[in-house]
């Protein structure tokens, strides 16, 4: 990677970390707002200007629907300022282009999730009525190993109120999710493991039989996680899904 791109990645990754930390705090608070102090207020767009704003928007783009997780998990209305920032990020930064078809599909579904959570706010997307992306291939096509890794990339979809083809796949293949989780744990890849454990927590909250006890996995990841706020957020969402169950998956 050229130096400038590396630098850009470092800068954006740092912003993702910072924003993840705020969101994590909000989840722990039980529904607070994720938007950093200084960006809230009546005119979000002008509170933080210039070069400092671009990484913030990028982080919002990356975290997507996760930004509204604090409220979604407790059934509260989405935080206004956070929603405004997410909507702005989606306007300012086009859907990122991935190098592979699978990557592009993952991003399309993440973007769908962001669109869905914004639909219930004063900042709905103009394309809110657009159809969802095509259903990703299932474990029968990919094998449970590859499929579970792809589900880990879609962990942002494991939120109350979101429901679609990816959720149907999660419901139908909880054993494959569990196998993927155990595999990631044994490979000592806690980043992948926590995202899959979040899906398991979601499936359990959805009333599906889950063949792996999720709580001990989450406890373990609490000790051996990768230490990032972004993974900490995944873990907190998973815990919240479990402890606040049973919520009912939104009707489509």
């Amino acid at each position: 990677m050229p130096f400038t791109e590396t630098a850009l990645r470092d800068e954006y990754a740092a912003a993702v970390e910072q924003f993840s930390g705020r969101t994590l705090d909000a989840v722990r608070d039980g529904g607070g707002a994720a938007v950093p102090v200084g960006t809230t207020g009546p005119d979000v767009a002008t509170d933080l200007d210039g070069p400092a704003r671009r990484p913030l928007l990028a982080a919002a783009r990356v975290l997507g629907a996760n930004l509204l997780a604090p409220q979604l998990l407790v059934g509260a209305p989405p935080d206004e300022a956070t929603a405004a920032l997410l909507a702005e990020a989606r306007r300012a930064l086009p859907v990122p282009t991935a190098g592979t078809e699978a990557g592009a599909l993952a991003i399309a579904w993440q973007d769908w999730a962001a669109r869905c959570v914004l639909a219930a706010t004063p900042h709905p997307d103009t394309g809110a009525a657009a159809p969802p992306p095509p259903a990703p291939p299932g474990p029968a096509d990919l094998g449970w190993q590859v499929w579970s890794v792809r589900m880990a990339q879609l962990s942002v979809l494991a939120l109350p109120g979101l429901d679609g083809a990816v959720h149907d796949a999660a419901r139908a293949h909880t054993l494959d999710l569990a196998r993927g989780t155990v595999r990631a744990m044994l490979r000592r890849d806690p980043t992948t493991a926590v995202r899959l454990a979040r899906w398991l927590a979601w499936a359990q909250a959805d009333g599906r039989p889950v063949r792996l006890e999720v709580e001990p996995v989450l406890d373990r990841i609490g000790f051996v996680g990768d230490g990032t706020a972004r993974s900490g957020l995944e873990l907190a969402v998973a815990r919240a899904l479990l402890t606040r169950a049973p919520w009912k998956g939104a009707q489509r």
Binding site: W144, V182, R183, M185, E213
Partner: protein
């Protein structure tokens, strides 16, 4: 039903591993020195691999699913091992001296099953079996099962409390599957080997353990194939056959077949087999994996053909 391509791969893998074992052992490796005494300063050195090769050969004869050539090699391996154990005298003397040691009984059971008997050993085992001590030795759960299965094969009474023995293992606890360690992997495989008598009695595996293995065996196999732990992966394939309908498909068989050398050697781990200046050292290094390969193939074929007859 196991797919026929898997069976073809298994058959070839096992047959070649058996030929490699046979060549090594009858070529002079794994010799018990004439002056060996029953205390066996280092039982792992020659005695253990000798007994393991005999185990593999005895399963071939027990299950009777190989061709005539492989059956002959198996019989020759058993004959040679039995001769080295001085027709059972060495086992008898070791058991006589060490009342609570399990390995002489464990080894003898596999010989006895296919017709090699030592009358004095039979009497001794009956006598020892009446001691509370023998049943109260403090050993890990999977070793308790080894003792119980050896007594079952040798036809010794009384029958143990199988459910309690099964329960007292890592597998019996239905442990969190992500906590498995390399050595625990071997504890799990042996728990299954002994409970099912090396695949002859899949119904003896308690149902919760059966369901648990069907869930997690594919994960463990995947993880240890990726890290090229061929020996452990091979033992997991044996387990897959021992529990009834296999769940892991062909991936493990293909991987083992791909690393097997033209002479039949299966590396215990790594992309290429570790090799030493002394060919006997190389043989010793990979001998256990050859045993695993032979047993895996034998049990897979036997189960696919409807299960082995259990020797009386």
């Amino acid at each position: 039903m196991t797919d026929t391509q898997v069976l073809a791969t298994a058959q070839q893998l096992g047959s070649r591993a058996l030929a490699w074992l046979h060549t090594g052992q009858l070529g002079g490796f794994d010799r018990i020195e004439d002056n060996t005494i029953i205390d066996l300063a280092d039982p792992n050195d020659v005695y253990k691999p000798l007994c393991e090769a005999a185990l593999a050969a005895s399963l071939i004869l027990r299950d009777g699913v190989t061709g005539a050539h492989d059956a002959r090699l198996a019989r020759e391996l058993l004959e040679a091992s039995w001769a080295q154990l001085r027709c059972g005298d060495l086992l008898y003397e070791r058991q006589l001296r060490h009342v609570t040691v399990i390995d002489p009984l464990e080894t003898y059971a596999h010989f006895a099953r296919v017709g090699y008997r030592h009358p004095a050993m039979d009497e001794l085992l009956e006598s020892l079996g009446r001691l509370r001590s023998v049943h109260a030795v403090e050993i890990p759960g999977n070793r308790q099962l080894a003792l119980a299965n050896a007594r079952r094969i040798a036809g010794l009474s009384p029958a143990p409390d199988w459910p309690a023995l099964a329960q007292a293992t890592w597998l019996g606890a239905l442990s969190e599957p992500w906590t498995i360690a390399w050595v625990i992997g071997y504890h799990v495989t042996h728990t299954v080997f002994h409970l099912t008598d090396w695949g002859a009695r899949p119904e003896c595996l308690p149902e919760p353990m059966h369901a648990y293995l069907r869930d997690w065996l594919p994960v463990w196999l995947d993880v240890w194939l990726e890290t090229e732990q061929w020996d452990l992966a091979g033992e997991l394939l044996i387990v897959d056959s021992c529990i009834g309908e296999p769940v892991t498909g062909r991936v493990g068989w293909d991987a083992l077949a791909a690393v097997q050398q033209p002479d039949g050697l299966i590396p215990r781990d790594g992309a290429t087999p570790l090799s030493y200046d002394d060919p006997e050292d190389t043989f010793r290094e990979h001998e256990h994996t050859a045993v695993v390969g032979v047993v895996a193939a034998t049990v897979a074929l036997s189960r696919a053909l409807g299960g082995a007859p259990v020797a009386a």
